[in-house]
């Protein structure tokens, strides 16, 4: 953890305050996703968590990723999930949560996992080599990398998207077609 010895400058404090605000939003929404028993409320909590993570991306100077996060996740995946909720809303017993025993086991697993992860993270020293804020504008570098070093994964993932689109449409339609 970098230790500032000198005075508090404005940017540091502003970044810190913004980080803690966004982190609180993300963590509370994530906990809301876990504890809410209503599926619509779960989806709403996921919305806030995703928007909070987009804000954190901005703080990490990944503006393009923040935009992608909002457009693809909030605008695409979340809408898809809400459509799924609406299409399956006649299903009974949607609001029933887990059983008491399951909740206890899940709490134990979660607490142990969180404690272990946090302990490991805090005891590890990572090589700190922060990105230079004055580097060429990240979006330009991102585009160059995508069409340079990462050209083959980039093209492959577009094929994957096409296959997934056709496959999902076929899967969702097939059953109703033969009735």
């Amino acid at each position: 953890m970098p230790t500032c010895l000198a005075q508090l400058d404005f940017t540091t404090v502003a970044t810190g305050v913004l980080f803690y605000a966004l982190a609180a939003v993300v963590a509370l929404s994530a906990v809301g996703v876990v504890v809410s028993t209503n599926i619509v409320r779960t989806a709403a909590c996921l919305l806030f968590a995703l928007v909070g993570v987009a804000g954190l991306y901005v703080l990490l100077s990944a503006e393009f990723l923040a935009a992608v996060q909002v457009v693809v996740y909030v605008g695409g995946t979340l809408i898809l999930i809400i459509f799924g909720v609406m299409l399956t809303s006649k299903s009974a017993a949607l609001t029933t949560g887990a059983r008491r025993g399951e909740v206890a086991v899940a709490c134990i697993i979660g607490a142990v996992m969180l404690a272990c992860l946090t302990l490991i993270l805090l005891r590890t020293t990572f090589t700190s080599d922060p990105m230079d804020p004055a580097a060429p504008y990240p979006v330009v570098a991102l585009g160059t990398a995508l069409l340079g070093n990462y050209l083959i994964p980039f093209e492959l993932i577009s094929v994957v998207l096409l296959v997934v689109m056709i496959g999902a449409a076929y899967l969702a339609k097939a059953r109703r077609g033969d009735r």
């Binding site: 100077s61 990462y150 994957v160």
Partner: protein, 113 residues
């Protein structure tokens, strides 16, 4: 004063701990929800935790020059998450058409009734 500065100077560890919280929330959601769509939401949380970690590593310990490997990996993860959500929802719709419910405890066989 010095203590305050340490609190406000947000470093890699802050983001990693937040990522751990997100990840554990996602795992707990997967474990406790009985609605298939709830489980999908948990998977999205886990993937977001991974993305957050990748971007944080890219920002704070990224090697030399203008390497953006972490951000590009996060981009791929976002795309694959969208693809995964589409396929999973198609499967859930099929499941719902067959059984009339999305309760995962009813999903005990793969064939036709």
């Amino acid at each position: 004063m010095n203590n305050l500065a340490t609190i406000f100077a947000v470093g890699l560890h802050h983001y990693l701990v937040l990522g751990a919280v997100l990840f554990v929330s996602g795992v707990l959601t997967i474990l406790t929800k009985r609605n298939a769509i709830g489980i999908l939401i948990g998977v999205e949380l886990v993937l977001n935790a991974a993305c957050l970690n990748l971007v944080a590593f890219n920002r704070f310990s990224h090697g030399s020059g203008t390497a953006l490997d972490g951000q590009i990996f996060a981009l791929f993860v976002i795309v694959l998450a969208a693809a995964e959500a589409a396929v999973a929802l198609a499967i859930f719709l099929n499941f719902y058409n067959n059984l009339g419910t999305v309760d995962v405890e009813r999903a005990s066989d793969m064939g036709e009734k």
